[in-house]
Symmetry: C2
Subunit: 297 residues, 2 copies
């Protein structure tokens, strides 16, 4: 008997196929489903739906970061909740690499300027978080540059991984700092004035995680005071970054509008995660990307 | 008896050390030197110097591209001339990669826009020229992305290399075209209107070679007419690109001011090439990067 899985609030053909490919059955009515692929953005809307669908045992969210959902408390309802964590490592790692290398004045040039550039060759990159997937993928992408990647994580598992409290000791030796961690009460403003002051003047900061992991006010001061050479931000605080904000239009800061993983890019990756989790559910295996509401990711 | 080698028109400590490390002797007076490391930009100035220094048997130029020097005829004087070709493959390949990935509207954003992006994962890149070094390095850098690189060269040597006349047959299948060839009478306007029309609409063009390899007028038309998705140019024609030129300030074109290899970045690489060539001269071996005035590189 195939597991009935619904997709809401909007149905995408690719996700319907993923459910069927995983051995499940697409169920148009969430009230009759046991699993739910939620592709919406609004926790209140999801909570309301779930209240009228007691049969749903498992909710698959479409994002890799779930701060919006854990903050709201919707996740702690006794159901199994999974995120797409790890599924978007490729586009996010690629975007981090691009932001890192694109930082100098050059990309914002509108006239022929003086030649300056940064290089990744032999650089030391401090990677903050990323739950493994992005970190591994990023390290793979920069390997041809002979770049050295040191990862800071809540729970280090490998030799080149360090606990978060060692971050400030690693920063003075970083050519680049890439922020890829989940946003939790512990990581909010992790990159604060002290962290930015600890970075070398030639170093650059990249944020592909969540805006509030970086203290925006401190970052503006760091750039104005040249504590660091530049920043590349795919996420900001506030977000969207309002027109006229001091982070816009400066030659030492590149802002991309949360496009590390665009909808077009992630849909096939989300579909694969959904297919895999439907198949796991069918086999009674532990799902991939289970959210720990306590940890916040 | 160490070979006396001069550096002109300005002396850099790193190059003096390279001469000594190679087993040569730094000679402050070019008139007494047998070798010359020329770090200037002006062929007329160099020709004048060489006329008064008949003892100089070998001239090492500091650039990888030598169109300026072969066009002037200064190279065909019976001396051995070497360029830095191949020495700057790393920074140039890195810059090509950056231009390729940075193209979308995002990098020029000054307000929060709609999410679009390109990816290198599984992309097909057609690489034009590069005399081997840049091509190999570029292929190495994009390997983690599972990108496929097809190289077009005057003299193909490997399986994935094709003769230049096959370019137009390869273009319709390219996600990106990277121009890295020498500028010669044969490659001037190699990327013309027909080539740009042959590229898919989603493809991007990157030029890290010399401006005139691309027909600027045709490129502006290609962007205006959306024959291609975007362009990333480290070199332009004319160069410097004048303020107000139609290639400036558009969201589908990124111009960097000939900074693929900045002076700071290339000096150690040039020093290593100089050291190696001094050592080769001492051992009576063929030098690296000998210029073929006929071929133009």
């Amino acid at each position: 008997m195939p597991v009935p899985v619904a997709v809401a609030p909007t149905v995408h053909e690719m996700l319907v196929r993923a459910i069927e490919d995983g051995g499940g059955r697409f169920e148009p009515d969430p009230a009759r489903a046991r699993g739910l692929q939620w592709v919406g953005k609004d926790p209140v809307e999801l909570r309301r739906l779930l209240e009228s669908c007691p049969g749903i045992e498992w909710v698959q969210l479409s994002g890799a970061g779930v701060d919006r959902w854990t903050a709201d408390g919707v996740v702690a309802d006794g159901r199994i909740w999974t995120s797409a964590k790890g599924a978007y490592s490729e586009p996010v790692a690629e975007h981090a690499l691009t932001l890192l290398r694109s930082l100098p004045q050059r990309v914002r040039a509108t006239s022929w300027g003086s030649p300056t550039a940064v290089t990744l060759y032999d650089a030391h990159v401090v990677l903050v978080g990323g739950s493994g997937g992005i970190g591994r993928e990023f390290a793979r992408l920069v390997e041809p540059f002979r770049a050295r990647v040191t990862t800071v994580r809540r729970s280090p598992e490998h030799e080149h991984e360090h606990p978060t409290d060692r971050l400030h000791r690693l920063l003075p030796d970083a050519d680049a700092v890439v922020v890829a961690c989940a946003l939790t009460p512990r990581t909010r403003h992790l990159i604060d004035e002290a962290a930015l002051r600890a970075m070398p003047r030639h170093a650059v900061l990249v944020n592909v995680a969540r805006g509030p992991v970086v203290d925006t006010t401190a970052l503006v001061r760091a750039l104005d005071s040249r504590w660091i050479a530049g920043a590349g931000l795919d996420v900001t605080d506030p977000e969207p970054l309002p027109d006229g904000h001091p982070l816009w239009g400066r030659s030492d800061c590149l802002v991309t509008p949360h496009t590390a993983d665009t909808p077009d890019m992630i849909r096939p990756l989300l579909a694969e995660r959904l297919r895999d989790n439907v198949a796991r559910m069918l086999r009674g295996e532990r799902l991939t990307g289970v959210i720990d509401p306590e940890a916040g990711y």
